[in-house]
Symmetry: C2
Subunit: 275 residues, 2 copies
Amino acid sequence: MTSTTGASHPLDQAVQLFAKSKGVYHGHTSAEYGNMVGPFGGATAAAVMQALLQHPDRLGEPLSLSLNFAGPIQTGSYVITTQIIRTNRSTQHWLILLTQDAETAVSATAICAVRRPSWSSAEAVFPQVPAADQLERTSPVDWAAWTHRYDMRFVTEIAAISDQTGEGRANSLSQLWMRDEPPRALDFISLTALCDAFYPRIFLRQAKQVPAGTVSMMIVFHADAAALALQGEKSVLGVAQALHFGLSFFDQAAQIWGSHGILLASSHQVVYFKA
Amino acid sequence: MTSTTGASHPLDQAVQLFAKSKGVYHGHTSAEYGNMVGPFGGATAAAVMQALLQHPDRLGEPLSLSLNFAGPIQTGSYVITTQIIRTNRSTQHWLILLTQDAETAVSATAICAVRRPSWSSAEAVFPQVPAADQLERTSPVDWAAWTHRYDMRFVTEIAAISDQTGEGRANSLSQLWMRDEPPRALDFISLTALCDAFYPRIFLRQAKQVPAGTVSMMIVFHADAAALALQGEKSVLGVAQALHFGLSFFDQAAQIWGSHGILLASSHQVVYFKA
């Protein structure tokens, strides 16, 4: 087994994979990206992305990643198995499974594409928000180690999650500047993790922690590696809101904007909750 | 092989599957749901949903369906293979592949869940639109047989797709009432198809047809079977808009609303285009 990443930043350490054979990678959860139970889902998603990026037969760049969190991930090692479903002229379809003790914890499909120049237009509008350096950094929370690994600056007030007596907000919209802590140049690894770096929307509506966990998530990448490189270590703006809560699940639509007002990624997820 | 559906409505005929062995189904494309090239993607998605619904070991109801259109589907027969990735106490994770001549044309993951009553809230707002019967039915188009299988009534003007000289619209928002034609009671099969029944957003922006095709799509079901049954044969309101076009792909966020203003499903897709 050979190390296939440099692994200096905590995120790179968290997603460090060792190629056991072609397309089969061994990884390990990172205490630095721990959540209430098990690892931060964004770090797990980033490890899946890492497996895709490291595969020698990959064609093009990530276009979309769809992840299903099938079961809890235990602290310790895991295996990521990648399989090419189909390779076309300019797109490639992947199936990726993360297993522990031969049980699947994450199933994922991904599409890579050779992105060619085209007509372009942004319909989504970059929101009017203060610059990151005009906002206070929000304190990480003790109950989720991974929050210490991000510099988060909320534009919209974050509900007092730790205050069990507060009133819930009327809507679940969050707008926040965020970046890795310590700073790290943006790439598909960190962008994937950032897409899951939003507190569960139900926390905001209920103004308290309730049991909640992402079960499925789709990310669409609007930017290519060159555009991500331009972002560097600067904060991205995350925007997230739920459309509907009911029958023990809610959805979340999110956008990640670059500092220059360019849409880098959008995501859609469905989350279990008990309330 | 035994027929496992009643197959009276054209949609039921289009998604009729024959169980070859447990979890392996044979189906056939339907000329009634033909598209410019190959079948309408919504009918293909509905066939995948049909395989899930027919499986004897399914737990609960569909919560989400993520589909990747890996390659063109030829007119003719196909095989759908279903595999349970993991069954938990109240959720079940599936991998579903649609193949033709042993090549994968569609890869999909799905999650079923035993939906339990919970706190509920809708943040998405049902738009102010005229009732379906106050609008004219939009004519189906000759170049896509499947459009004859829907009664569509556009609230926002549809761009003159057949008029190559028109100006493109400033945004890609569509709002339309739609239902199966002939009418058919709503269920997970028809709702799945409806989630893909939007013209490619690029057509609206360019006011013409250009090469375009969905490559990945995620559907979240907000309603259970009981709520869908209440909808009956009435039209649902579809709302769709792209956030971003660029590097040969655009996304589309869509919502399907019941006639009583209840959000039934939301979907997110990424679409290839050449323009």
